[in-house]
C-alpha cells in the first residue's frame, strides 16, 4: 500500500518480504505529510523503523521490528504490539516507544531524551551510556527484569525496573549492574544482592523528587499496559547512584 495519503488520519503499510528501506521511506513520507497514525503490518525484523524522524505522529507495529527501532528518533511515538529486538532507542532524542512485550539487548543505547516503556523484561546492557543534558533527560521503564550490565557506563537519565512478572528466582537485574556508571539514576523495585553491583554504584534513599518521578512513570506504565499503580508503588524501591562522577579518571588521565 502506498503512503501517498496526505491529510489522511490513518494509513496501513504492509512490510512483509520487502526490504526495510522502501518501508521506512513510506513511513517517513506518510508522517511528514501529516498522517496521524501509520499502522505497519507484517513486520519481520525490518531495521531502523522510526530512524531519525523529527515529525509528530504515531507508528503502530504488528510483528517483530528489527534492530535499532527508533534510532535517532526525535519526535514521534512508536507502539510495538509484541516483542522488540536489540538496540531499541539507540541515541534517541525525543518521542516515546511503548513495547507490549519484551525487548532484546542494549535497549536505550546512548539514549539522550524521550521515554521508553517496556511491559516485560529486557536483555543485557539496557541503558548503556544513556546521557542527559540540560532539559534533555531520557527515561526508561522496564516492567519485568533486566539482564546483566544494566546501566553500564550510564552518564545520565533515569532507569526504572519494576520487577513485576518474571521467572521465579530470577533477580530484578543481573550481575555488574551499573558498572562504570557516572551519572543519572537507577530505581529498582527491590534491593539487589550487593555482589551483583558494579563497584561504581551505591545505594541511596529515594528523595521526594524521586518519588514524584516514580509515581509519574508508573502511572504511564499502568496507562499503557494495565495493572494497579498503588500496588506497584508499594514495592520496596531502591535507588542506585554513581559513587564517582569520573570512575575511570585515574586510568585515562596521565
Amino acid at each position: 500500500m502506498t503512503a501517498n495519503a496526505a491529510g489522511a488520519a490513518h494509513v496501513t503499510i504492509a512490510a512483509g518480504d520487502r526490504p526495510y528501506r522502501p518501508v521506512n521511506a513510506e513511513v517517513r513520507a506518510a508522517l511528514e505529510a501529516g498522517v496521524k497514525t501509520v499502522e505497519l503490518s507484517d513486520v519481520r525484523g525490518h531495521r531502523y523503523i522510526g530512524c531519525g524522524l523529527t515529525c509528530q505522529g504515531k507508528i503502530v507495529i504488528h510483528g517483530v521490528p528489527g534492530n535499532d527501532l527508533a534510532m535517532f528518533m526525535d519526535g514521534p511515538e512508536i507502539e510495538v504490539l509484541g516483542n522488540a529486538q536489540d538496540a531499541v532507542g539507540n541515541t534517541m532524542n525525543r518521542g516515546r516507544v511503548t513495547i507490549h512485550g519484551d525487548a532484546g539487548d542494549v535497549l536505550a543505547h546512548s539514549m539522550r531524551g524521550g521515554t521508553i516503556l517496556v511491559k516485560g523484561s529486557v536483555g543485557y546492557r539496557a541503558g548503556i551510556h544513556m546521557k542527559s543534558y540540560k532539559e534533555k533527560r531520557p527515561v526508561v521503564v522496564i516492567g519485568g527484569a533486566a539482564g546483566d550490565y544494566l546501566g553500564e557506563y550510564m552518564a545520565g537519565g533515569l532507569l526504572i525496573v519494576l520487577g513485576l512478572a518474571r521467572e521465579r528466582g530470577l533477580p530484578i537485574s543481573g550481575i555488574y549492574t551499573g558498572t562504570g556508571m557516572h551519572g543519572g539514576a537507577m530505581i529498582l523495585g527491590e534491593a539487589l544482592d550487593p555482589r551483583s553491583l558494579g563497584r561504581e554504584v551505591g545505594k541511596a534513599d529515594l528523595t521526594p523528587e524521586d518519588l514524584a518521578d516514580l509515581r509519574r512513570y508508573v502511572g504511564q506504565y499502568v496507562a499503557a499496559f494495565g495493572g494497579n499503580a498503588e500496588e506497584i508503588l508499594a514495592r520496596p524501591f531502591v535507588k542506585y547512584l554513581p559513587v564517582s562522577r569520573r570512575p575511570y579518571g585515574q586510568i585515562y588521565v596521565y
Partner: protein, 386 residues
C-alpha cells in the same frame, strides 16, 4: 565422475586460497540459526533458507553455509566427505590418496544449480567412505572416527587446493562465497530432507571471504556456525594441537568444532559440561557457589583452561545427537530460542525465529554462557534424497 564444474582459469582464482597465504583469524558480525526436530521428523531446506534470508543485512555476501543431518540415509554408515578442489590436479592427487586409505562406496559431483550470482566456485565432489581393513588393522588402537579425523587433517594440511569441508555420517555441510540464501539455492537444499538444520550468513572483517572460510566448520558429524570472534584462538589452537587437531582453515571458528569433538567424543564429557568448559562461569561467580559445585567448576576450569573460548560469540553447534546454542559468558552477541512441541529453534534475531516457528510454546533469550540443548529423541525418519 562429472567434470562439469571445472572452471576456466580466468574465472577461478585459486591463488586466493593457497594454504600459505591466509591470515590468522576472522572477526565477524554474522547471522546464525538452527532448527532441530527432536522426534526425527524431516523438513526440507526451504524453511532454514527463509530464516537465514530474513537476516540478509547481517551478512555481506562473502560467505553462507548450511549443515543438514539425516540427508544420506542410503549411505548412512559411510562417512560422507564433501570436498572442494581449486583445480583438477588437486582432485586427482586427493582421489589417489583417498583410494589408498578408504573404501569408496560412491562418489559424485555435489548437485548444484546454475545461479548468476555464484560467479566463482571450486570443483565440488562428495565421496562415501570407510577406512580400509588394512588401515584399521594398522591402527588397531584407533576408532574409525579417529582414522577419519586424522585423514581429514592430512588432506587439508598437505594437498594444495583441496579441502574436506564435511566428513560426518548421514550429514553434510554446504557452503561457499555468496549470501546464504543464494548458497542454499546453489546447493539445491530444498531437495534435501533433514531433521536438523543450521545456517550461517557471513560478514568477514579480518580475512578475505573464500569458499573454505565460509561456515559451518566441523569435523566428523560436528558442525559449528558462529557469530563473533574467538579472541582466544591462538591458545585454543595450540591446546588442540596436543590432541592431533590441526587448524588449516585459518578462521577462528574452526577451533570450536574441534573442541566439542575433543570434549564430547574423545573425553566423554556430557554436553552441559563441555559447554561449561568452553564458556565457564566467571571466577567471581564460582566463588559464590556451594562447595561441591564450586569444586567441580574450579576443576573444570583448571583442566580445560585451554578450551576456554574468550571473546564475543553466539554459536550453534550441531552433531548426530542434536543441537547446542551457546553465547559467550557476558553475551556480546545475540541469540533467541524457541520451542514448539518436539522442535527447538535458535536464531540471531526473533524475527527470523518466528519465520521458522510462528507460534512458539516458549520463546526466550538465553543468558550468556547458559546453553540451549536439544537432543534427538528417536531415530530420524528415512526418506531417500531426490
Amino acid at each position: 565422475m562429472d567434470d562439469a564444474q571445472t572452471i576456466p582459469d580466468d574465472q577461478w582464482r585459486p591463488d586466493r586460497h593457497q594454504k600459505s597465504q591466509r591470515d590468522e583469524k576472522d572477526q565477524s558480525g554474522c547471522a546464525i540459526c538452527g532448527l532441530l526436530n527432536e522426534d526425527g521428523s524431516l523438513v526440507d531446506g526451504g524453511l532454514i533458507i527463509r530464516a537465514i534470508a530474513n537476516m540478509h543485512d547481517r551478512s555481506n555476501g562473502l560467505g553462507g553455509g548450511f549443515a543438514a543431518y539425516g540427508i544420506y540415509p542410503q549411505w548412512k554408515s559411510w562417512y560422507a566427505f564433501h570436498l572442494m578442489f581449486d583445480h583438477d590436479a588437486a582432485r586427482r592427487q586427493t582421489e589417489s590418496y583417498l583410494e589408498t586409505v578408504f573404501q569408496v562406496a560412491h562418489q559424485e559431483a555435489i548437485p548444484t544449480a546454475h545461479l548468476e550470482v555464484i560467479r566463482q566456485r571450486p570443483i565440488l565432489v562428495r565421496y562415501f567412505l570407510l577406512p580400509k581393513e588394512e588401515l584399521r588393522a594398522r591402527h588397531y588402537d584407533l576408532t574409525d572416527d579417529d582414522i577419519v579425523m586424522m585423514n581429514v587433517m592430512h588432506i587439508n594440511k598437505t594437498i594444495d587446493g583441496a579441502f574436506v569441508f564435511s566428513s560426518g555420517r548421514n550429514m553434510g555441510c554446504f557452503k561457499g562465497v555468496g549470501y546464504p540464501e543464494d548458497i542454499g539455492r546453489f546447493y539445491r537444499l530444498d531437495e534435501y530432507q533433514a531433521h536438523l538444520w543450521t545456517a550461517h550468513g557471513r560478514f568477514p572483517t579480518n580475512t578475505t571471504g573464500w569458499w573454505g572460510g565460509a561456515h559451518p566448520f566441523g569435523i566428523l558429524d560436528w558442525a559449528v556456525v558462529h557469530n563473533g570472534e574467538v579472541s582466544s584462538y591462538g591458545k585454543n589452537r595450540s591446546y588442540l594441537a596436543n590432541f592431533g587437531y590441526q587448524c588449516t582453515m585459518h578462521t577462528d571458528t574452526e577451533v570450536i568444532g574441534y573442541l566439542f569433538d575433543l570434549l564430547v567424543r574423545k573425553h566423554h564429557l556430557p554436553i552441559e559440561m563441555a559447554c561449561q568448559a568452553v564458556a565457564p562461569p566467571l571466577w567471581s561467580r564460582i566463588e559464590q557457589m556451594p562447595p561441591a559445585e564450586r569444586q567441580l567448576l574450579q576443576t573444570l576450569r583448571i583442566i580445560y583452561g585451554g578450551a576456554l573460548l574468550n571473546g564475543p560469540f553466539s554459536i550453534v553447534v550441531s552433531h548426530a545427537g542434536g543441537l547446542i546454542g551457546l553465547n559467550d559468558r557476558i553475551k556480546l552477541r545475540p541469540m533467541v530460542a524457541a520451542r514448539r512441541g518436539a522442535s527447538l529453534y535458535v536464531a540471531s534475531e526473533e524475527a527470523a525465529l518466528r519465520l521458522m516457528c510462528p507460534s512458539p510454546d516458549l520463546i526466550w533469550r538465553p543468558a550468556g554462557g547458559v546453553p540451549v540443548i536439544g537432543r534427538l529423541q528417536s531415530q530420524p525418519q528415512e526418506v531417500s534424497v531426490a
